[in-house]
């Protein structure tokens, strides 16, 4: 049962907003037989600066034939729900030779992570200063599989608190991985309070999930918001005709954004916001994540662990309340220089790691270019936060008897190998099976396989989107499905 549409139907029939407990009584008992359905979610999680060598698993194959690499050890209890994929490469999106050298690496490779397009070439072809391919998460969100099914088409989130150096390239290449159109990078929300508001705006009204029910003040504010947006649209549409051709294109981007916000507001005012029998609005986050000059390390008021935990809780909330099914999450901007002084140094071997003394350095110069152990410790900490998120998602069962994690695919990885900045051997793990569409518990050793094949496989084999192509492969190799991971 699709909660969103079932609720829409019910509301239309009843003509009034209905309180949640009544809904719950109709919802299938999750502990019982799996009779219902649950939506598939897709979530790219970006690991900046590549990964330490200890990412790579020991052994290959499935089940007992492989073990997690020691920086992936926080995933131990979820190993049975993972694919770790070795030897994906994205150099072929940049170089006709297929070589993995793409310079400046931090400034260009992340732009291709979800697009398999060389932004630099596209910019010059389009004669604009900012361009990239449309990213896979956005192609998904525009497809019938996802489009219109949730109040928010997608969410872009991140944990970066300090301005990153952009390697002499457009910062959109290293601070955004989602591109809505070829000229429109998507910003991400970093402040947990902003994320909370974005979710609550669409999840609470009319559903009674926060006890608000049909609060007349909420309805009044939404009506006023609509009136404000009408004026904005009316004036911008009229102003548009006075602008140059180039500015009209910019204005169209603005108008699209306003309409999208208006659609969301309309959805909510009709009482159709995210509804789910498991929707639970958590506490309002309070932490400060922003100062004018950025936060570069732990302070009295800022702790990255708490930031990550808050974001994890919000992601779970967004998924539980079904306000969106696509979330793109950047653990940091590429080439982050955040100082991981909240992480104790560790000593790594192939078999595991143990804490030593002292605290970790800054991510890029001190970590990625520092000792292998420091880099591994920072990667391990970030992996741990993703594993926390996955465990939370796995603890919530849905109508089809599977967990939210089972019903999702988390594409977790980075845009470069590691300290060598090479655009091959990309650290990549898939967690969850998209509702049974992927095999599980595997270390898949591919042979220099283009990353776009993975996106292609996600779109077609997991989501059934029927795509015929995606991104670029300048070597001329045809796009193909990675059959090794498909169930």
């Amino acid at each position: 049962m699709n909660k969103f549409f079932s609720r829409r139907t019910l509301l239309r029939g009843a003509g009034v907003a209905l309180a949640l407990p009544w809904m719950e009584s109709l919802a299938p008992k999750v502990a019982g037989a799996a009779t219902g359905t649950a939506p598939v979610r897709y979530m790219p999680i970006f690991l900046p600066n590549g990964a330490a060598e200890f990412w790579t698993p020991n052994g290959a194959g499935s089940g007992s034939a492989w073990n997690l690499g020691s920086v992936l050890e926080p995933f131990a209890e979820l190993k049975a729900k993972m694919n770790v994929i070795s030897n994906l490469e994205n150099g072929s999106a940049f170089n006709a030779s297929g070589l993995p050298s793409v310079e400046p690496s931090h400034g260009r490779q992340p732009g291709g992570w979800l697009t398999a397009v060389d932004a630099q070439v596209l910019r010059s072809q389009l004669k604009v200063e900012e361009a990239n391919g449309v990213s896979v998460d956005q192609i998904m969100s525009e497809h019938a599989v996802f489009k219109g099914k949730t109040p928010l088409a997608s969410l872009q989130l991140g944990l970066s608190t300090v301005y990153s150096y952009c390697d002499g390239q457009q910062c959109s290449n290293s601070r955004s991985v989602s591109w809505k159109t070829m000229t429109q990078p998507m910003y991400k929300m970093v402040d947990p309070l902003q994320v909370f508001n974005a979710i609550v705006n669409v999840a609470s009204a009319g559903t009674g999930a926060t006890g608000g029910g049909t609060d007349p003040n909420v309805a009044k504010r939404l009506a006023m918001k609509k009136s404000v947006l009408d004026a904005v649209l009316e004036n911008a549409t009229s102003t548009r005709s006075r602008l140059s051709i180039n500015d009209q294109a910019r204005m169209d981007e603005f108008l699209d954004s306003v309409r999208s916000v208006e659609n969301t507001a309309t959805t909510v005012s009709a009482g159709l916001g995210g509804t789910s029998s498991t929707c639970a609005i958590g506490a309002k986050p309070t932490m400060a994540t922003v100062t004018p000059d950025g936060i570069r390390q732990t302070t009295a008021t800022y702790n990255k662990g708490a930031h990550a935990d808050a974001m994890n809780a919000l992601i779970v909330m967004a998924l539980q309340c079904d306000v969106t099914r696509i979330i793109t999450y950047m653990l940091e901007d590429e080439r982050s220089e955040f100082t991981y002084d909240h992480v104790t140094k560790r000593k790594f071997t192939n078999m595991g790691s143990t804490p030593t003394t002292g605290t970790c350095p800054e991510y890029h110069g001190g970590g990625q270019h520092g000792t292998q152990d420091d880099f591994a410790a920072i990667t391990w900490w970030n992996v741990g936060k993703v594993a926390d998120l996955c465990r939370k998602m796995d603890a919530i069962k849905e109508a089809n008897g599977l967990s939210i994690l089972d019903n999702s695919v988390i594409f977790f990885g980075g845009a470069m190998h590691g300290s060598d900045h090479s655009c091959d051997r990309l650290p990549t793990a898939l967690i969850g099976s998209g509702g049974g569409k992927l095999k599980q518990d595997q270390h898949v050793q591919l042979k220099n396989r283009p990353l776009r094949d993975l996106h292609f496989t996600m779109m077609n084999s997991v989501l059934g989107m029927g795509q015929t192509d995606f991104g670029h492969n300048l070597t001329g190799a045809p796009i193909s499905t990675i059959k090794e991971i498909v169930a």
Partner: protein, 586 residues
Amino acid sequence: MHLSRGVTWSSILALGIALSGCSGMVSGDGNSATGPDTASKPAAGSGQPGVGAGGASNGAGTGSTPVPSAGGPGTVPGVVNPGLSAMHRLNTAEYNATVADALGTTLQPATGNWRGGEIDGFDNIASVLGVDDTQYGLYLDAAEAIAKDVFASDALRAKIVTCATADDMACVKGIISKTGLKAFRRPLLDAEVATYTKVYTTSRAQGADHNGSLQNVLWSLLSSAEFLYRMEFDNGVKTKHLISGYELATRLSYFLWSSAPDDALLAAANDLNTDAAIGTAVDRMLTDQKSARLVQNFAGQWLGARKVLAHPVAADVYPAWTPDIASAASKEMFAYFDEFLRSDRPWSEFLSADMNFVNAGLAGLYGIPNVTGTASTRVEYTADARKGFMGLIGFLAVSSVDRRSSPTLRGKWVLVNLLCSPPPAPPATAGKLEDKGDPTNTNIRAVLEAHRASPACSSCHSIMDPFGLAIEQYDGIGKFRTKYPDGSTIDPSTLLPPSSTYPQGISFSGLDGAEKAVTDDPKFKECITEKLYTYGLGRSLSNDDKNNAVAIEKDWETTGALSVGRLLHRLALAEPFRYRNPGSAQ
């Protein structure tokens, strides 16, 4: 592959051991200045300055290649077509400043989370300041919060609500016109007033009172494209044309104040059509304290001062680097530029002025005696060899990596920011360099010399490294030293290979020698012009723009004192600032 990792070009960049392409100076696009003289000549065939007939003969609707005329707008000789103008979303600093100045709110809702794009070293470049659903949602919420904040204050509300009769539509329209002028930086059309009046009537119908309904009007004005973007209208004109007085007032105010024009500038906007009027406006704006934002946002980005606080420094290597030092070092960089902005001090002294702005902690790091307290004070300490911008601790720190100084990064920084001559990107075939042990203790010169022994690398590193090698006597946080941690003596002498500026090449030594070599390069004066031009107009410079920057620099240099204030004047009077180029064929 265990301890001696393979390191590619970009990791080398990070380490600062090596930086750029090894394939000579021919790669890259023709736009970037790859040598001292590449961009220094106006394009052949670009029109000569008009002589004789005065007036703005190249106004709206004239031919496709108008020529500026002496006596009319755009009197700087040699200046040709300005590059494309684009509508310009307010960035975070501009948004916060605008709502504070125009409405008096102390809310600063635009945050570092509202990241826009950033290219060419600045975050106010129109072409990369788009918007998306998420960002617009934040704008909408921020506008609501600001309107609420303004209407919660009796004093602030009184400035807007100048008549109190509910449903008196003449009153309401008057308020919308007046508030709209501030918000949109131009008078509203009648149809626009009617549009926003509908918000008032809807709000009244919802049961809100007069003030509450006007609060909702303000919410809608601040949510509008016309507020969030600086727009310039072509009104059907398809070729280069003069911008309106309001548009010029807006360009000037976002250039010099990072904010909207104030009431006085708006009131005088229609008279902003002579050199004298523009000059008067610029003078007034520079004496206003809001011009501190020019220092904050222009110099802060160009010279790296905004990066100092967040610059990573390894505490185990440099325990002396504290938040207090970082803060004082950042303030010093701003104060140093500020003195050039507000005095007649010639720009040619930027790399030789012997002044510091220090508190006790920062003075200690410099070795300057007799400074007490936590507040910064201006001192002229001549007993050491250190002077000029390149001697500032803030600069020396941000051009280093966290654990040591980096000659290549510093050299590249000088090429990119002080000489506007960035080295080309490294080729895909760039070789690898083994990282030898702990770089903190290494004699970097020896490592670099070994690296340059490769002919492929030498062509770029021979021009990048010298400026950095000459200032190696200042460590990763700018403290003076004569030896590396491994005990080897630092040799600050170096050699710049032959170039058009220095046909015989030039050898120099130490901070003083490096600063003189930069100052003597003609690109040094062109570079500040190019940077101000980029920042002032908020666009990536076209080839014509770059040529214009050179012409404006010549004009600056030949018509009076070489002060930054005069350069701002010459820029504001030049054609690119007063005209708009609508762009593509229509």
